[in-house]
Symmetry: C2
Subunit: 224 residues, 2 copies
Amino acid sequence: MVDINYPFRTTQINGEPLKPLTEVIRQRRATLHFTPEPVPRDVLENILRLGLLAPSGYNLQPWRFILVEDEAHRRKLQAAAFNQAKVAEAPVVIIACGDKQAYRRDLDEIIEEGIRRGVGTPEAKEKAKQAALQFLDSQEMNVWVHRHTMIAVTHMMLAAEAYGFDTAPMEGFEEDKVKQAFDIPESVRVVCLLAIGHARMPDKKFPGRHDLKRVVFHEQWGRS
Amino acid sequence: MVDINYPFRTTQINGEPLKPLTEVIRQRRATLHFTPEPVPRDVLENILRLGLLAPSGYNLQPWRFILVEDEAHRRKLQAAAFNQAKVAEAPVVIIACGDKQAYRRDLDEIIEEGIRRGVGTPEAKEKAKQAALQFLDSQEMNVWVHRHTMIAVTHMMLAAEAYGFDTAPMEGFEEDKVKQAFDIPESVRVVCLLAIGHARMPDKKFPGRHDLKRVVFHEQWGRS
């Protein structure tokens, strides 16, 4: 099990303290081009572990990740991603997946582990299980796995930036081709790709965002 | 337009520096019960602005948010959310939505604003627009709006925690009822709810997570 007390690295790759979240979010751009400089193993493991601590409904963690580092594999992924240069340039690309069937295999074990950790009681186990299954059966699973996987991906993206790396989240890929190239099962969706590395400067410019009052409403849709 | 140079608040509500991202992620729990203590206006605005800086495909920002603070409205939302106590308890609940049609209205303006900021050129505008529309027409829009909205929601959740608040992301609601209660248009999906406030102690325990080697593969699905 992923350990909540894992001694997370608390410095950037340049030795400075982690970037504060405000700076991470402000400085993050979807990087267009990466240098070949690698992401050290221990940093990558920290980024992944911070992703796996994301929340999910009933703690079901339907996300699965494939780390693509080998150059031949990155080129194979690039071919399934409209030939985007950054996919082959970045030293690491994570294929973020959502498994639509994993909950059926994992639910019992997750509830039991929770009980061992003081979440719920053995007496309530069967009821919790039935409630979860009833809820899940009501969900559109394609949407459901995307909803959850994107939380973990966003954790990883922000963690990588906080450690002083650059990232590019991507939805530009042909899912069937990615699945075929990496042996991804039928019941699994490819949710997004996340490239991590160092930007080849200059990085992309900030393209602007909608005004707060255009996208945030008060108490009711459309009311500002 | 949301300003990248906005002077984001850099201290927690208790006056200490922002929590580092590693601590934010480690300490975050999906809070079950909130105290009535409010979230100050300026902190809430910082959280929202940090959410709106999330990345999205073609910068299309399909997310829309409804801030629910009024007690009567929180009770109305609670009734559409399986009567969960935290929805009525938390001083703020954000209804995170994804608008499936907004890109048709917004695309021209977003491309033009990007060009003004040095992303793309006026000559390439029409080509960029056609490429975006062609891509979007190939996407499942229910999935697409969830993918993007969850990035912004995750920014907000982590920002709220970094400022010293507690959060609860929720997918337990009846979408039709939420839409009806808050006048949300037909073409808009309710993606999740995010409650923000202070946890009534003791907060929930950490329920554990899958092992790294169970959910992270190397170079190919299933290979650890």
